[in-house]
Symmetry: C2
Subunit: 116 residues, 2 copies
């Protein structure tokens, strides 16, 4: 009754891979969090995420724009500011990312002392 065919086994892999293509890697999720927290500008985002370099941020933002997770708007003005904003669609990822966060919190309690 629980027997799965080879193909069925793989059926879970495809959607997971799709998701990882969108938000996989070290940075994309962290960038989304930063944007959801209200950061808008390149330097702002860069500073909010330790260890993230200029070049990698630029590349990740490009990817994410292509994937419709963010929009880029150039605001004409004195020092020319660029605004990155998370799309509505990106917000469908909040539940997933919240779960990643929750697990991380519990894991940390597991690894380092549990207070009780």
């Amino acid at each position: 009754m629980k027997k799965k065919t080879h193909t069925e086994c793989l059926s879970a892999l495809i959607p997971v891979r799709d998701t990882l293509d969108m938000i996989g890697g070290k940075w994309k999720i962290l960038i989304l969090i930063s944007l959801w927290e209200g950061n808008k500008h390149f330097r702002e985002i860069e500073r909010s995420i330790p260890k993230l370099s200029t070049k990698v941020l630029a590349k990740e933002l490009k990817d994410m724009e292509e994937n419709k997770l963010i929009t880029r708007t150039v605001v004409n003005g004195f020092p020319v500011r660029t605004e990155y904003t998370p799309t509505e669609y990106s917000k469908t990822l909040q539940k997933v990312i919240k779960e990643l966060q929750n697990w991380g919190v519990k894991h940390r309690q597991e690894v380092f002392g549990k207070t009780k």
Copy 2:
């Protein structure tokens, strides 16, 4: 009332990073799914995940054993079989991974035609 300090902003990043350290990268989640589906042996796992190479699988399994996501048992016998089994602890990740899968399914509907 909704204002967040810089430090609070980062507070979400740390647990997410912790989680990604455990199951980040292209393969670990897929390997877990394969194991949960019942695959136990090296070649079995390898064959169940397209594009996964021997070398990478060996490395990932090592990492995952260190991280207590799986256990490795060598079954003495004719062609020497090794069994990989997901730990109980790894199962605490099932909810997270299920969310990744759900999102991927919906995303695919979004990208390719929605049937309705």
